[in-house]
Point group: C4
Chain length 122, copies 4
Amino acid sequence: MIGRTLWAIAEGYIPGGSTGEGRALESHETVCVLNPNDRDAAVALTLYFADREPAGPYRFTVPARRTRHLRFNDLSDPEPVPRDTDYASLLRSDVPVVVQHSRLDSRQSALALLSTMAFPAG
Amino acid sequence: MIGRTLWAIAEGYIPGGSTGEGRALESHETVCVLNPNDRDAAVALTLYFADREPAGPYRFTVPARRTRHLRFNDLSDPEPVPRDTDYASLLRSDVPVVVQHSRLDSRQSALALLSTMAFPAG
Amino acid sequence: MIGRTLWAIAEGYIPGGSTGEGRALESHETVCVLNPNDRDAAVALTLYFADREPAGPYRFTVPARRTRHLRFNDLSDPEPVPRDTDYASLLRSDVPVVVQHSRLDSRQSALALLSTMAFPAG
Amino acid sequence: MIGRTLWAIAEGYIPGGSTGEGRALESHETVCVLNPNDRDAAVALTLYFADREPAGPYRFTVPARRTRHLRFNDLSDPEPVPRDTDYASLLRSDVPVVVQHSRLDSRQSALALLSTMAFPAG
């Protein structure tokens, strides 16, 4: 199977403001998970902060031969992700997957983007 | 030989709009393939989506000692890549290559860029 | 334990100017360290320059199950980081961690972002 | 010693235009090399194109315990790097180093940045 089962993203920050119109241009952070394998992947995401115990796990499924681009903004169970707050994340999957992290920041009058492959920790 | 034969990119998204003039500043996503070896590389690209079976393979060649920066926007055979839609990609090559992913987003009045090395999965 | 104990970041540059208001939008460079393990990590950061001997070590702690996003702008002991100057950095930790690097540049009228996972050198 | 002796960057593109004032805000591409070791590194850079044989080697030194952030714009020997042209690069060093790639694009009214760690190919 293709990928890894443990991925880490050391950076995380959802800007509290946006200048863009609509959901597409709203400031957001995304974890992109690709499951190119033939078995559904059960994923658990844990969030780490500077000054409190971790949040989560946030659980979701990435079906076989599918990709899922999940906005951290949309996470709500067990709790929402605070804005304007530093965090980091660790993703465990029972099936190997590939994980990439990106942010769209539209706080100022033109959007900015960042993206990096997550660190394959296991 | 230099490189790997299997690469994964978990993020993919071609913005539907642009503010730039001309092809250079049109919003686009690119897969950059470097073949520093002395044999031509036959590459097959497969695209993964959130809610349908994968598309492809899209086939192209990267000649020996050449680089090819292919826009996902330009893919048409077997089918074009939908705009404003999340996707991911997997690239297989019969000769080792190096793969990097980038996007230019000019939806707002100033362009934004992202780039990351793809994940060497095999 | 998750992570690595030696990380390298070849790029470093704190823009000397900003157009954003407030600390959040001030041009800055950040090293993001995630310690998902159950032991506190003692970290030492060394900075390399083009034409002088290295600076540091800058020492800090990342507690167990915490992340710390440290701005290079804020480093002062043993010396501040010069602005508008190329540098690079090496991070050693006594406990495995995961390290990511990012920059927010607000010299012009709209901010720009970059981010990349650091290189796991050991 | 820390690092690797062979690095690949699949993406390369120097925008032909700039809106920024001065050298700092001119559109440029940079290869950042960190040599944290105690021996000087002799580096050779080869550039690959879409439709011609490679250019180079471009030779330079990164002294022990130093970093060098070299603009592709400034390369001239054996030949300058064409603007508005896709290229890729391969960096060989006789001493292990760490390599990162970045671009500042100021073609439009606000700059954009990208950066990614190069691929450690050997």
